[in-house]
Amino acid sequence: MIVRELDLDLDAFEGPFDLLLTLVLKDELELREIDVAGIVMAFLERLAERDELDLEACGEFLVLIAALLELKARGLFPEEAAELAELEPEAAAEELARRLAEYRRMKEAAAWLRDRLDTEGDRFFRIGPAPLAPKVETPLAPQEPERLAAVLRMLAVPPPQVSLSHMALRFPPVSQFLERFRAVLRRRSRFDFDAEVAGLSRVEQAVAFLALLDMRRSGEITIEQAAPFAPIRVARENGEENPARDERTVSWTTVRSA
């Protein structure tokens, strides 16, 4: 198989590969119009038609197609070529000389470093991270007193109250009910617990009851309840007609279990 005689049927060109190369080299064919992949496909198809791999043909084709690709790549990026082409030989020589001189100086500097390394090669010293204490830094730049005061005022504003309304359980202090009951007992010697806490929330009623127990424990009051769930009657301890102590205890237990 002769690569040059490879028949091509491309959009921009129809004929043997050889002719295409000639036309390209003579600038009679715009290389950027040529689909190089198409050429490769044509070659591969031809290659597949044969049973054995023609290494010589492959090698030749690779060389030719690589050259073609390079030409095309250069054609597609014309700026650099134009930049260099615009230079007069004199200017080009000057530019080249400048670059060479620059490199030559660095090369000599490298040679100097190499020599230096030889003469200074017998220097041994400790290498390692310097265990330096951290530098003390001034935390703040100088500030204007007015600005400082303004900022402090900003900070001094009480933060907005966080709402706890979404939390169901709120316990009023027991002391609140202690005071309330004591006040009631100062006016009258006895009162009805249920009537006193009517209209309060369940939690408040519970706390009120705790206050009641507290007062009972300290002996301020006596508590009576006729039957489970019957109204709880509260009386001053030193009030008239004290009920029997045993009875009180019983009613107390009842209340508790209720």
């Binding site: 660095m106 090369k107 500097a109 490298a110 230096r116 200074e120 041994f124 290498i127």
Partner: protein
């Protein structure tokens, strides 16, 4: 009565400071400059410099196995040169071992033109500088020094104090002047111009 303190021994008034400097320098693993020493010793820089001269005289080649030297913009102890053979049997020098020509050229470019970018180096040497730069960074001879201001913002590199120390330089200004290097560049220029004349003719 004279209330000056009684002085029994006529010692150099800088002796105390000199001892402090010795201590600081023996602990340090990198050169310390006068200001750092003065701050640590809590003394005046002028007095520190005078005391350093005292210490440097005490620790000099031929007199001590430890030598005080002014290097990389500071002061540091190193082993005396006569102990180099013994040192080399025990200690490795990883930073400068087997520096290739490419690495040395790259190092020279960074030392003279730094801070400079890899494209800067590649432009002068005509080949990509990536691996040489990476190698020098790994050795600790060059280090990153910010980014280029222009578009792209390539990383810029400069030489490290370790570079100056290994090459025994007090500072980069001790490098030979660039103008003194490349003596034959004029010759190259003339030859190139001759070629250019031939072509344009």
């Amino acid at each position: 009565m004279d209330d000056r303190p009684l002085r029994l021994i006529a010692a150099n008034p800088l002796d105390q400071l000199a001892r402090t400097l010795e201590a600081l320098l023996v602990v340090a693993s990198a050169p310390l400059d006068v200001d750092e020493l003065a701050e640590a010793a809590d003394d005046h820089p002028e007095r520190v410099e005078a005391a350093l001269r005292l210490v440097a005289d005490r620790y000099r080649e031929g007199r001590s196995g430890v030598v005080l030297e002014h290097v990389a913009g500071g002061w540091a102890f190193r082993a005396s040169r006569e102990a180099a053979a013994a040192c080399s049997r025990l200690f490795e020098k990883p930073a400068q071992r087997n520096l290739s020509q490419a690495s040395l050229e790259t190092l020279a470019i960074v030392a003279y033109l730094g801070p400079c970018t890899r494209p800067d180096i590649a432009r002068i040497r005509g080949v990509a500088a990536d691996s040489a730069v990476a190698n020098l960074v790994e050795r600790g001879l060059i280090a990153e020094a910010g980014r280029d201001d222009h578009a792209g913002g390539a990383i810029r590199y400069r030489t490290t104090p370790l570079f100056e120390r290994i090459f025994g330089l007090e500072s980069l200004s001790e490098l030979p002047r660039l103008d003194d290097l490349g003596a034959d560049t004029e010759q190259i220029r003339e030859r190139l111009h001759e070629v250019a004349d031939l072509r344009s003719a």
